[in-house]
């Protein structure tokens, strides 16, 4: 009996073969133990990769100041390198393309500073303080009171004042709307292993 080729086993393990070829591969694996084992290995690998990706998280105590310092450091470094090039008398040797590139770098650096400054200083707009994830997935509105919930937690806002109960975004975090006027989220704390349920209610 002729064995399946490796690429077909790999594709079949992900269900990416055509319908007929996929059925043929599955039928073959029913009777061929080596090919079946190979396919199981591929599936196990895929599962491990998925698990690794799912369990990846940003460090909880991320030092934003340090990251910010590095960004500014890199911008400064780019400017310094350019200045060194000029002071060493290399400017005349540079082609016009390099000059454009240098100006581009300064422009990009300036734009980066403007964008970052704007980002940090930008006004809250409507409900912006809760909008650090792409969109709310649960919302309750009762007059001027707005409850919101997403992977990051749950919050309430009313006339420019607000409170949010946050948790670390996690693949296992959940949230739910209560039709009586509540939003609930639950997440497992990485450090303590406790599951914490945060809930906001409309009175």
């Amino acid at each position: 009996m002729k064995h399946l080729i490796q690429s077909d086993i790999a594709l079949a393990s992900r269900g990416e073969l055509s319908l007929v070829a996929g059925l043929r591969a599955k039928a073959h694996c029913v009777v061929c133990a080596p090919c079946r084992e190979q396919m199981d290995l591929y599936r196990a690998d895929q599962f491990r990769v998925r698990q690794a990706v799912d369990s990846f998280e940003l460090p909880r105590a991320m030092n934003w100041n340090s990251i910010e310092g590095e960004i500014f450091g890199n911008i400064r470094l780019g400017l310094d390198v350019s200045e060194i090039g000029q002071s060493a008398g290399q400017k005349r040797e540079l082609s016009s393309e390099r000059e454009i590139s240098w100006r581009g770098a300064v422009a990009v650096a300036a734009m980066t500073v403007i964008v970052m400054t704007g980002w940090f200083l930008g006004g809250p707009g409507k409900n912006t303080y809760m909008r650090h994830t792409p969109s709310a997935v649960a919302q309750v509105r009762s007059g001027a009171v707005v409850l919101k919930g997403d992977e990051s937690g749950v919050g309430v806002e009313n006339r420019g004042m607000g409170l949010m109960l946050r948790h670390v975004p996690s693949p296992s975090s959940r949230f739910e709307v209560g039709l009586e006027g509540s939003v609930r989220s639950s997440a497992v704390d990485v450090d303590s292993g406790q599951v914490t349920v945060s809930q906001i209610y409309v009175e």
Partner: protein, 366 residues
């Protein structure tokens, strides 16, 4: 925010909030005490004309009772918790021995209109309830913590028992397979963007839609009537009627809701807790004054064709709580639509992070 950025932002400096604006008020006769409390990392960041204040509080509590503590619920409030809202942080599935200490983290973000207010932040934490191993409860129960903590504990015992049984009958491979299924379902469950507006007004241009209740075994409260209307992606449940089949008086129920779109796809649309008093063999009616707007991810409107309810909690007047048996979600093919218990969430996270051996150890521990 760093000094560099503070300089760059021309004086829009962040200002640290008061060192300790945390006020923890527990009743004098509470069977738990506060060992330590305080602000953790806290800071205020200017955002236009307002201030965002991040507060990471940490409480360390001690169980002074003679019983093992199973869950706690705290009410959290501040001047930012404007009129009209309430907040709670609950930690179920605990196993705190008498005399043992345990942490409760509260990670808050407050939005304030001005800088002066941000330097005088006061967050109040009050006890709403504690549940012990014998299901006895202590606390003012202003937020309905008794029902919720009791239901979580019953679900936790049910799920741990179910997993222990699987381990005993099918061995480690069976347990592993179950946990992999749980993780896979958590990732693949269809998500719905649910926006609820509290209003008694009937939807414009609405039409009556199909309604149903799931058949459930040994159900103490049965849904007998449901009236719902829809208009595009908006849903309004006008009336729900229930009958108490149990010998005990019912104090409240919680109904899970499933919606189906015009292509036959089903989604969970949240839950409906309702306080309704029902004597044995009597009925009661609920009329939710709210409409729900349902969108699929990326903002695609969901055209609502039908709604199905299932009873997921019943609270009796004697404090007892009924939850569906462990096999219900699988038998009713609900596993792919609704999430499992918070205990299942905790145990699957243990398996995901620490592996099968840690999960088995956890199952054997309690």
């Amino acid at each position: 925010m760093s000094n560099k950025l503070a300089l760059l932002s021309l004086g829009f400096a962040s200002c640290l909030v008061a060192q300790d604006g945390l006020r923890v008020n527990f009743p004098a006769d509470a069977p738990i005490s506060v060992v330590s409390s305080g602000w953790g990392e806290s800071k205020a960041i200017p955002r236009g004309g307002a201030y965002v204040v991040d507060v990471k509080t940490s409480l360390r509590l001690k169980n002074n009772s003679r019983l093992r503590l199973r869950g706690i619920s705290l009410q959290v409030s501040s001047q930012e918790m404007v009129a009209g809202g309430k907040a709670s942080v609950s930690v179920p599935s605990l196993d705190v021995y008498p005399g043992q200490e345990f942490p409760v983290k509260i990670d808050l973000r407050l939005l304030q209109p001005n800088a002066a207010a941000s330097s005088a932040v006061v967050v109040q934490v009050q006890l709403d309830g504690i549940l012990f191993e014998d299901m006895s409860f202590f606390g003012p129960n202003r937020l309905g913590s008794r029902r919720q903590l009791t239901a979580w504990e019953i679900e936790a015992r049910r799920d741990r028992q179910h997993l222990r049984l699987i381990l005993a009958r099918g061995g480690e491979e069976s347990l592993k397979k179950i946990m992999l299924d749980v993780l896979a379902r958590d990732n693949s469950r269809p998500k719905l963007d649910v926006r609820l507006a509290r209003s008694a007004a009937t939807l414009a241009n609405s039409r009556g839609i199909e309604t149903a209740f799931l058949a459930q075994p040994d159900l103490p409260v049965e849904g007998v009537k449901a009236v719902a209307v829809a208009s595009g992606n908006q849903l309004q449940i006008l009336e729900l009627a229930f009958e108490n089949r149990d010998k005990r008086e019912v104090r409240s129920i919680e109904l899970g809701l499933l919606v189906r779109d015009h292509e036959g796809r089903e989604f969970s649309a949240g839950s409906l807790p309702a306080v309704l008093s029902m004597k044995p063999r009597m009925g009661a009616t609920v009329m939710p004054a709210a409409s729900v707007t349902l969108n699929r991810p990326m903002g695609l409107p969901m055209k609502v064709e039908s709604v199905t309810g299932f009873v997921q909690q019943v609270e009796f007047s004697n404090g007892e709580v009924w939850v569906p048996p462990s096999g219900f979600r699988d038998e009713a093919r609900l596993s792919k639509l609704i999430a499992g218990s918070v205990e299942e969430q905790r145990l699957s996270e243990i398996y995901r992070r620490r592996g099968l051996a840690a999960l088995i150890e956890e199952l054997n521990r309690q």
